[in-house]
Each structure stands twice: as structure tokens, then as C-alpha cells.
């Protein structure tokens, strides 16, 4: 599903910063992997490149069998819209839209009719236990609720890949465990998932842990599928 070959990325600021130094990575369809690393290790940059939110300098990135390189703005928007679902640490909900409108928004850009997209959005909210909160604005929701809304939004387009950047970073440990439980369930439906985290408790709940250090993959740790740890304290 995701294939990275020798990906390099440098930020050209006052001091050029070589963030990713030749990343080779393969994520199979239906896999759930986590990326761990200290801050500055390049894990967020890697996720942004996977999500086509940022570009890379050299190498090849194949997503769902398609080379993602030098895409036009519109092509990139289309790939993001149809193939990828995003979950962000800070939720990134639009403050003046209700929970339901936020969830329905990606479908608006697919020109799905209003009635249909609201119906779909309600279905997903219901699935995450937020039916009663559909008409609430983000600032009326708790952190866990917000993250569930953003998960519903990520899933509503039925993407191939879910990319999550520190999805529990702004949540307490109990809520974090709930969120991970949901992500795990979502994964059971066959969606490929990449989660960036610096919390081992989160990483232990995925199939594979990719350790990133100073822009290179240090090692890949495989969790025994039978022994996925749901009990370790997250924080």
C-alpha cells in the first residue's frame, strides 16, 4: 500500500536541515504500523509526506500502486480526498461548523449531495457514539469527543489509508485508550493505518513499530499479533 524508496527531505531555512536521509519503508495493505522517535527525528515530516501535505526532494513514493511525485495541486487534493484519512493531534476541526458538518466536509469536495453526505456523516457519528452531539460545535465537545469527530471525518470517505499524527497527544490516558481501541477496531475492517507517536503505550498497540532517529530508520520492531498489548498504561 505504501512504498518509500530512498526518500530525502531537506528544509532550506537559515540553516539547511536534512530531516529525512534516505527512508526505505514498506507498509502492506491492512497493516497498522506506528512510527516512533524523539522530537526532531523527522517522524512528523515523514507522515506529512505520506499524506501529500508536504513534498519530498528525492526518492520515490508509491501510494496504492501509484507514484506520488510532482503532483499538481488538484491531483494531490484528489488523492488526499479519496485515498487518505487524516487524524491530527490538534483535531483540526473547523470551529464554525457543527460536528456533523465537519464530518460531512470531505464529501462536499467529492460533490456528494447534501442529503447523502449528512446521512453518511450521521452514520459515522452514530458509530462513534456521538449521535446526540451532531449539532454541537467543536468548542462544546470534550477532547475525546473532538478526536472521535475527527476520526469519523477521516473515515467518512472510506479511504485506503488512515494517517494519524499523535492522535492521543492532547488526550488523557483513559481517553487515549478509548481512541486506540476505536482505531484498532477500524483497522479490523482492513484499512491501512500509520500512527506517529512518541508514546510506547500507543506503539505497543500496533503491528509494527518503526523507530526513527535523526532522519533514518533505526530498526523495525514487530509485535506478535497474538500478543498485542492493550493493558500497558499509555501514559
Amino acid at each position: 500500500m505504501i512504498r518509500l524508496q530512498n526518500i530525502n527531505k531537506t528544509y532550506f531555512g537559515a540553516q539547511p536541515l536534512h530531516v529525512l536521509k534516505g527512508i526505505n519503508l514498506h507498509v502492506e495493505e491492512g497493516e497498522m504500523v506506528s512510527i516512533m522517535g524523539a522530537s526532531g527525528s523527522g517522524k512528523s515530516t515523514l507522515l506529512n509526506i505520506l499524506g501529500i501535505l508536504d513534498n519530498y526532494d528525492s526518492g520515490d513514493y508509491h501510494l496504492n500502486g501509484k507514484l506520488v511525485k510532482d503532483l499538481s495541486e488538484n491531483e494531490a487534493a484528489d488523492v488526499r480526498n479519496r485515498t487518505i484519512g487524516f487524524i491530527f493531534q490538534s483535531f483540526n476541526l473547523i470551529p464554525f461548523k457543527t460536528a456533523m458538518e465537519n464530518v460531512a466536509l470531505p464529501l462536499y469536495y467529492q460533490n456528494v449531495s447534501r442529503k447523502k453526505r449528512n446521512q453518511l456523516a450521521m452514520d459515522y457519528l452514530e458509530r462513534f457514539g456521538l449521535k446526540e452531539w451532531a449539532d454541537h460545535y467543536p468548542n462544546e465537545l470534550s477532547g475525546g469527543q473532538k478526536q472521535r469527530v475527527s476520526m469519523a471525518r477521516a473515515l467518512v470517505t472510506q479511504p485506503k489509508v488512515i494517517l494519524a499524527d499523535e492522535p492521543t497527544g492532547a488526550l488523557d490516558s483513559k481517553t487515549s485508550a478509548e481512541v486506540m481501541q476505536i482505531l484498532r477496531e477500524v483497522h479490523q475492517t482492513g484499512i491501512t493505518m500509520v500512527i506517529v507517536t512518541h508514546e510506547r503505550g500507543i506503539a505497543l498497540r500496533t503491528d509494527k513499530i518503526i523507530h526513527l532517529k535523526d532522519g533514518v530508520i533505526e530498526n523495525i520492531e514487530t509485535n506478535d499479533p497474538g500478543l498485542i498489548d492493550f493493558n500497558t498504561e499509555i501514559k
Partner: protein, 411 residues
């Protein structure tokens, strides 16, 4: 349909932002219009003060020849007649309004009172040539002239001599040289003249006095803007009149040509300076309006950079984001711009009416009536709207151009 629903939702859910943006635009246009109106008011007041000099008026007086010419001897009287009027009206260059002037003297009677009077026969256009200051009633009109009506507009002096304090002169008949004239109006007249004066239709007085030679012709010109123009024009007139009346073009005493060129040129200078002043103020106002409107639009769009980033991450195309932002700003600027324009014009109008009432009660002398030119107002409004939209467009374009992750993390 969906597109518009999104727009209206974005506007109504962000009431404060919509209001502040709109208010900035309304206020900019409102202030612009009110100040333009005030400026125009001052110009109008000054114009009124200088209205006597606001026209280039030429007066031709008949004289006596002093040089023999084509078999004619000297000391021949030159009078004007209908041929001269036709010449001025049809052939002569730069002529605007023409009125001949004849007069007759006599006594005016009303009841048991009488007074020395000069009756002046003039065409209705004479009022605008000489700026008759009407105090009561009406001026002479084309119908009076056409039907040779026996009507008269008397001056204040004559009114004082003939009518008691309590008597309204309008509609009364006064008798001059055995003929009754109905008084239709009173004008200010010359306060220094000892006797009274009255204006009657030219055709009426011509018939009564059987005059076919006229002592004076008076007309206004247009397109003579410098002293040189006017001097050349005087020579031109003399040559043409010399041809019509067969006198030597070099004969200085055959006809007398007078004009208020000096005063006129001076008044024009004042007007031009004032007009320039108003334009400068207007442009300064417009510029500050544009800066204000542009700034608020720029800030609003900057504020939305995060939202733009989120929308892009979710798969929005740059074009669709740009389209909605530009449509939103157009909607806000147009609606609030129109509102500001409307309010500005209402305030100018109301202020004008209040000032008029105050002036009628004669508590202030300066005649300030604020007016606005609807075309200028519309142009200024449209310009502000266009600038506001453009000011929103460029930062919006920049925001959709940067990478979505940068837009999302923008602070």
C-alpha cells in the same frame, strides 16, 4: 446551490467577523460620501457668493462714429436691431445666452402712491445672464415673452415706494405710462438707485414703445478662458459689427464692448482652486478608505489560513477555496458598501435640509448646501468594493498556494 449554502453558512456562523469586515467597508464609504458632500457644500456656498461673476457677460452699447467710412460721414449714431440679435444667436462664435435690453422711463402708480421708475424690457434668459436675485413670486418666463404678457418683476425699491408694509405686491397691478402691469415677482435690485426698476417682457415693451433699435445687447460666452482669448474676441466682435453697420473697424466710439472678463477670470481661478481642493480631499479620503478596507480584508483572510489548510488536507481544490473566499468578500463588500453609500447619502440629504431651513430663517448667511454627485458616489463605492475584493484575493491566493501543512500550522 450547495456552494451558496456554504457561503451563507460561513458568513452567518462568523457573525462578528462578517460584521467587523462589513462595518469597516460601510464606514469607509459613509465617511467618504459625507465628507465629499460637506466639501461640495462649501463649494456651493462660495459659488453662490461669486455667482455674479461666475459668467462671462458681454454688453454691447451703441455709440457714435468718429471716422468717415464708405461714404458715411462722422457722428452717425449706431443702434442695434434684430439683425444683430440674429447674428449673435446664429453666426457669432462663443455666444451662449443672448438678451437685448430696451428701457423706458416714467411714473409708476399704485393706489394713491407713485414713484419714478425705469421699465427694462428683457428676455427671460436675462435672469440667468445677470443673476436676478428673486425674493418673492416668480421671474419672467418664455410664455410671458411669447404672448407679450403685461407682467412685471419689480425691484425691492419700487415695492417699498408703492406698497405698504402689510400689502403683498404679488398679483397687484401697477400702472406705468397708462398701462397696467401685473406684478408677478420681486427681486433684490440695486440698493443704491434712487428710483425703482422693473423688468417686463422684451416683446411687451417693444410693442408698447415701438422700438426697433436697441440701446444695449447683453450675452454670455463660453469657451473664453484667458485674457488673450477675450481681447481677441472683442476685436472679432468689433469687426463683425463694423461689417453689419458699415463703420470703420478701427473706430473705437462706434460701439462700446464691455465685459466682466477680469472678474470672471478671477472667479474662475477661485473655482478651479476650490475644485482642485475638493478633488484632493476626495482622493485622500478614497485612498484612506481603500487602505482601511484592504487591511481588514487582508487580516480576515490571514485569520482563515488554518481553515484553508484543513480544507486542503481534506481534499479541497485551491480553485474552490479561492472561489468561496472571493465570493464571500464580494458579498460582504457589496452589501455593506451599498449600506454605507445609502446612509452617507441620507445623512448628506438630511444635513442639507436642516441647513436650508436654518438659512431660510436667516440665522446664517453662508449658503452651505451639501450635495453629492451620484455618479461619483457610485464610482467611489465600486472602486472600494473592487479594492476590498482584490485585497482579500491576493492573501487568499497566497494561502492556498502554500503547502497544506504550513497553512494548518500557521499562527
Amino acid at each position: 446551490m450547495d456552494f451558496w449554502r456554504e457561503i451563507f453558512m460561513a458568513l452567518s456562523r462568523n457573525k462578528l467577523r462578517t460584521f467587523l469586515t462589513g462595518f469597516a467597508i460601510s464606514w469607509g464609504i459613509f465617511i467618504l460620501i459625507v465628507l465629499l458632500a460637506a466639501g461640495n457644500g462649501i463649494v456651493n456656498a462660495v459659488s453662490e457668493e461669486f455667482s455674479d461673476q461666475s459668467k462671462n457677460v458681454y454688453s454691447l452699447y451703441g455709440g457714435e462714429t468718429s471716422i468717415p467710412f464708405k461714404g458715411h460721414g462722422t457722428n452717425r449714431n449706431i443702434w442695434f436691431n434684430d439683425k444683430d440679435i440674429r447674428f449673435l444667436e446664429t453666426e457669432a462664435k462663443h455666444v451662449d445666452l443672448v438678451s437685448p435690453f430696451i428701457y423706458t422711463g416714467g411714473f409708476a402708480y399704485y393706489g394713491d402712491k407713485s414713484c419714478n421708475v425705469t421699465l427694462n424690457g428683457v428676455r427671460p434668459v436675462y435672469h440667468s445672464i445677470s443673476n436676478t436675485d428673486l425674493l418673492k413670486g416668480r421671474l419672467l418666463n418664455e410664455l410671458d415673452e411669447k404672448n407679450s404678457e403685461k407682467v412685471t418683476v419689480i425691484d425691492e425699491a419700487l415695492q417699498k415706494h408703492l406698497f405698504d408694509e402689510g400689502t403683498a405686491p404679488i398679483g397687484q397691478f401697477i400702472i406705468v405710462n397708462g398701462i397696467a402691469y401685473k406684478v408677478v415677482g420681486v427681486y433684490e435690485g440695486d440698493p443704491n438707485s434712487s428710483g425703482g426698476s422693473a423688468l417686463v417682457p422684451f416683446s411687451t415693451l417693444k410693442k408698447i414703445t415701438h422700438q426697433s433699435d436697441y440701446w444695449m445687447l447683453r450675452f454670455t460666452t463660453k469657451g473664453l478662458e484667458t485674457k488673450e482669448d477675450n481681447e481677441a474676441y472683442t476685436e472679432y466682435l468689433r469687426t463683425q459689427l463694423a461689417h453689419l453697420h458699415e463703420f470703420d473697424p478701427d473706430d473705437r466710439s462706434a460701439v462700446y464692448i464691455r465685459s466682466n472678463m477680469e472678474e470672471y477670470l478671477q472667479a474662475m481661478k477661485i473655482f478651479n482652486t476650490l475644485e482642485l481642493f475638493i478633488w484632493i480631499i476626495g482622493f485622500a479620503m478614497l485612498a484612506s478608505g481603500i487602505v482601511g478596507v484592504s487591511n481588514i480584508m487582508r487580516i480576515t483572510v490571514k485569520e482563515r489560513t488554518n481553515e484553508i489548510g484543513i480544507r486542503k488536507a481534506l481534499g479541497a481544490k485551491s480553485r474552490s477555496i479561492l472561489a468561496s473566499i472571493v465570493t464571500e468578500s464580494m458579498l460582504i463588500t457589496t452589501i455593506f458598501g451599498y449600506l454605507g453609500m445609502w446612509l452617507g447619502m441620507v445623512v448628506a440629504e438630511v444635513a442639507g435640509n436642516i441647513l436650508k431651513t436654518v438659512q431660510e430663517s436667516k440665522t446664517i448667511q453662508l449658503n452651505i448646501v451639501p450635495t453629492v454627485d451620484i455618479r461619483i458616489v457610485l464610482m467611489a463605492t465600486v472602486l472600494l468594493i473592487v479594492c476590498g475584493v482584490l485585497a482579500g484575493f491576493f492573501p487568499a491566493r497566497n494561502a492556498v498556494r502554500i503547502k497544506p501543512i504550513e497553512a494548518m500550522n500557521y499562527r
